[in-house]
Assembly symmetry: C2
Homo-oligomer: 284 residues x 2
């Protein structure tokens, strides 16, 4: 693991690291925000993972999300991974913003040519979290996760598939039912193949129907002026209905926010609520 930069922000530090990932057979980059108490080794702090959306990298949220003031106050670490391998050398990986670079979709690909590198599910769930837990003063037993759009999908999937691992999960404008929207069907076909049976393991609306484990608190915010909501890529109502009808131990608060779009202007508006939500469950 190589330290690329460190920059003080509020009462803590943003650090950027690169490392070789075995899950993606490539170099990966992530940022971590560490409050002073963790930097000084005085306290193992709770840790929050944030997964970004299509076209984003590890920087978008940490620079534009407005999260760090709240994390500093709450003494919670934040980890922002990249959204895919980069420069894997796969033909066409940079040609389409919805596939390949910047569009890992938080799955473990089973199909060629993606199979060797596009394993963002295992990268985030296992490799990165082990690396972070082993390298910094974080308390891995108090981990939560959130994300935006494709990353909201990723956060929901990781939380629903790993009962008890996350204290809480939240999402801004997540892709809630990817098996039935263009964002989802396109990537699942490429990464997982055309047999749709393999898709349910990466679909929050399907996973919520069979979730077993401790009560999972879930917060979802969706802006009603979001073009991708209008074009039915996000479908928060599908997740609501599946949660209500399946009666699994999932406590979903799904909120519609009038006037907001898909951008970081929307995300920063509700960041305070999301950090407070996670802080409550991480400190419970």
């Amino acid at each position: 693991m190589e330290l690329v930069s460190k920059q003080r922000c509020f009462k803590g530090e943003v650090r950027k690291y690169t490392h070789h990932s075995t899950a993606t057979s490539s170099k990966m980059t992530f940022n971590i925000y560490l409050p002073d108490v963790a930097l000084a080794g005085k306290e193992r702090v709770p840790v929050l993972y944030y997964l970004s959306g299509l076209t984003c990298n590890e920087d978008n949220m940490i620079t534009k999300g407005g999260a760090l003031s709240y994390l500093s106050d709450e003494r919670i670490a934040l980890v922002t991974p990249d959204t895919s391998p980069r420069g894997a050398g796969i033909p066409g990986e940079d040609d389409d913003w919805e596939l390949g670079t910047g569009a890992g979709f938080y799955v473990d690909a089973t199909q060629e040519p993606w199979r060797q590198n596009y394993n963002m599910y295992s990268y985030v769930q296992s490799e990165l979290q082990q690396l972070v837990a082993g390298s910094f003063a974080v308390d891995a037993s108090r981990t939560s996760i959130f994300g935006h759009s494709m990353g909201g999908h990723g956060a929901l999937v990781l939380a629903l598939r790993n009962s008890g691992h996350y204290k809480s999960v939240s999402a801004f404008a997540p892709i809630c039912h990817p098996s039935t929207s263009n964002w989802g069907r396109k990537q699942f076909t490429a990464y997982l193949g055309s047999n749709e049976n393999a898709w349910a393991a990466y679909d929050a609306t399907e996973l919520v129907k069979t979730y077993g484990g401790p009560m999972l608190p879930v917060l979802v915010d969706q802006g009603d002026a979001d073009q991708f909501y209008s074009s039915k890529q996000l479908q928060p109502s599908h997740l609501v209905i599946a949660t209500e009808t399946s009666k699994r131990p999932v406590q979903l608060d799904s909120r519609m926010q009038p006037g907001y779009d898909h951008s970081y202007y929307f995300i920063q508006t509700f960041m305070k609520d999301h950090i407070a939500f996670h802080a409550k469950h991480l400190r419970a």
Copy 2:
């Protein structure tokens, strides 16, 4: 004036406009954040101008500065202009990040080939403010200004040259004495010519010695891990000494912030203080 986009953020809207500027003989772009009370025409709100630094455009601060939550709460409008004309067609304007595009330095150029377009002083002080006052529900009698680096220099210069026009001025890591630092001498030579007598009108440390008018509240924050502070481009102590020795009606609070660099991680850390400082004087 043409509306490019509008996006809801907190209790207000970020709007991007383009317009033809007579001051710069070119198309210019700016963002404005308008709280709901101003959008609804219920209240003429105070207005805060923010000038960005070298290489920046109208977006950097409004997306990464973390200001909008505070401005929403305080019901203050924010205007973020670009840092120079773009595409003026001047040979070499895009070749050097310290000159030309992204580096207008908030002067009115007197030298060729910049003279016709590089008039950011008049653009910001007169043309843009008249346009904003005439187009939106802002109270121009309650105007303040701030900025970062080159834009901190611009904010200080505009406030010191226009007694009584601004209720308060603040800056993050401003270029305080540009006549004596490489950032400043280089641009002044190009835009204003090699006769240094012409430079004092754009140098805060010189202007503070002759300032007359109502008491001007000034807040300056500087990080001590800022590479441009170390390389003596910023020189906040020069402004402090000139203010103290000249005994003009300038109330300067110049703060050194340990560990912070020149980036928006530094700026967002102290944004709350700067907005509170301006709000106090705008509402006085």
